[in-house]
């Protein structure tokens, strides 16, 4: 049982950090693209959705080239901060955040765009400064859509395999997430462990989807942005 708990707990840790990162970036990007108009907005939108459609190993390779010890960004990080991301759970979290980001971004943008602009105008006409409009009107109205997107992002981050394997490797206890643990268990002939891991992962993902649907239903949103 311990063999199954370690990867599960590690996966939950990595997925949580990844979701927080994706949330921060996704909400900011979603707000920017929902509210601002500028040339090339649609191109930027497509670029930001790219991690959702690119094969995970392609993403993993880009990240490796960028963040590897001899990579563009990675070498600088190693020199100045002594930070190595390859083969660490932080690297795994970054890989998972990159694949989860489009889910949050898309949900956030749709949520912000579906807010009745009149409500925000009313708040402004009543004297609210912009930051108060954002905090008191916009975000409370958009939070359900964003939360549903965050849950999908968490599920995606939990299941991330290709990019994680390339960046973080397969180190039990440190970077062996549940998907990688299942892969290893199957190949080592340990079907009993594989079955348990698959069951745990499935239960968590189903619970997340049910919760996301419940949140959306209560908010009467017509469509879950995917």
């Amino acid at each position: 049982m311990g063999d199954a708990l370690v990867p599960l707990l590690l996966t939950l840790k990595v997925a949580s950090v990844a979701t927080v990162l994706a949330l921060c970036a996704g909400v900011v990007a979603g707000l920017a693209l929902a509210r601002l108009r500028f040339p090339g907005r649609d191109v930027l939108d497509a670029l930001l959705l790219l991690p959702m459609v690119l094969p995970p190993t392609v993403l993993g390779y880009y990240l490796l080239v960028l963040l590897g010890s001899r990579g563009t960004l990675g070498a600088w990080l190693d020199r100045t901060l002594g930070l190595r991301l390859v083969f660490t759970w932080q690297g795994a979290a970054i890989a998972a955040a990159v694949v989860a980001f489009p889910l949050v971004f898309k949900a956030a943008r749709t949520a912000f765009e579906s807010i009745d602009a009149d409500l925000e105008k009313a708040a402004r006409s009543l004297g609210y400064p912009e930051w108060a409009v954002l905090l008191r009107v916009t975000l409370p109205l958009a939070w359900r859509g964003i939360a549903a997107g965050a849950m999908l992002a968490f599920a995606r981050a939990m299941g991330e395999f290709g990019a994680t394997l390339m960046i973080a490797g397969n180190i039990p206890g440190r970077t062996q997430t549940i998907s990688i643990a299942i892969y290893e268990a199957v190949h080592a002939g340990r079907d009993d462990l594989a079955n348990l891991l698959v069951l745990l992962a499935s239960v968590v993902c189903i619970a997340l989807l049910v919760a996301a649907a419940a949140i959306v239903r209560r908010g009467h949103l017509a469509v879950v942005p995917v």
């Binding site: 083969f87 490797g169 397969n170 180190i171 290893e184 199957v186 190949h187 080592a188 002939g189």
Partner: protein
């Protein structure tokens, strides 16, 4: 289109198909599942195989030996199995996956410690315990023979437990080589034959001799549908051309 034209076209199509050459009675394709470290040697034998069997084809399926056996156990359509350690071949034998009497030992190898080109040399197994060595790559002992050989060497010198925090496990020995070549780890355990493939990116700095001799064996798989052709491939690897190809790449004679 009128019915008559349609019928005429269909008849013409069928007649045309009947003119196509029938598939040759001799053309077959065998799948050879082989340990990753044998990749280059087997590829070098492809022309010799083609010369002897011009109608047939051979497909190489390369991975860690345990992974390959797991595939065969699950019914993968494999004709020949070549393993990097005897233990995995013995397991295959016990599970009745091998055609009786076809097993041969074809090569030996040496385990070495490599470092990235330009990095500090690691002169011995004990030097891996230095604080300057932050990460060491080995094959995952659960699935990779090279990882088990490395563990054997490290256990013999009492360093296995101490090195645990530094170990990075790889899926096969070529991935260990890749990690070292990329500079993502400070040292790694690979076969001498693998190190010889990248002299511009990795440097051999120490031998890692163990108690268990590194022996490669090959056999025809019991459920193979092309046993004669598979046996011919095994003979090729075990024969003069095979020994020459293996020898050129640094493998030893059994």
């Amino acid at each position: 289109m009128t019915t008559r034209i349609r019928v005429a076209l269909s008849a013409a199509l069928v007649a045309a198909l009947a003119w196509l050459p029938p598939p040759s009675a001799h053309s077959a394709e065998i799948v050879v599942s082989a340990a990753s470290s044998l990749a280059d040697a087997l590829e070098a034998l492809r022309p010799a195989f083609f010369a002897r069997h011009p109608q047939d084809a051979v497909v190489f399926n390369l991975a860690a030996s345990d992974v390959l056996l797991a595939q065969i156990d699950r019914g993968a359509p494999v004709d020949v199995f070549a393993s990097a350690d005897e233990a995995t071949m013995d397991r295959a034998d016990r599970a009745h996956r091998l055609a009786p009497g076809t097993r041969r030992i074809v090569a030996t190898n040496r385990l070495v410690i490599v470092v990235p080109k330009g990095a500090a040399a690691v002169g011995s197994v004990d030097a891996l315990l230095d604080a300057t060595v932050r990460r060491v790559a080995v094959g995952s002992p659960a699935t990779v023979p090279a990882g088990r050989y490395a563990r054997g060497v490290l256990e013999a010198s009492g360093a296995w437990q101490a090195l645990q925090p530094k170990l990075v496990l790889a899926q096969n020995v070529r991935q260990v080589l890749d990690y070292v070549a990329r500079g993502e780890v400070d040292a790694g355990f690979v076969y001498a034959t693998d190190a010889a493939l990248m002299p511009d990116r990795v440097v051999v700095t120490a031998d890692a001799p163990g108690v268990v001799p590194i022996r490669y064996s090959i056999a025809v798989v019991a459920d193979s549908r092309h046993k004669a052709l598979a046996a011919a491939f095994v003979d090729l690897v075990d024969g003069p051309e095979g020994r020459a190809a293996l020898g050129r790449l640094g493998f030893g004679r059994p």
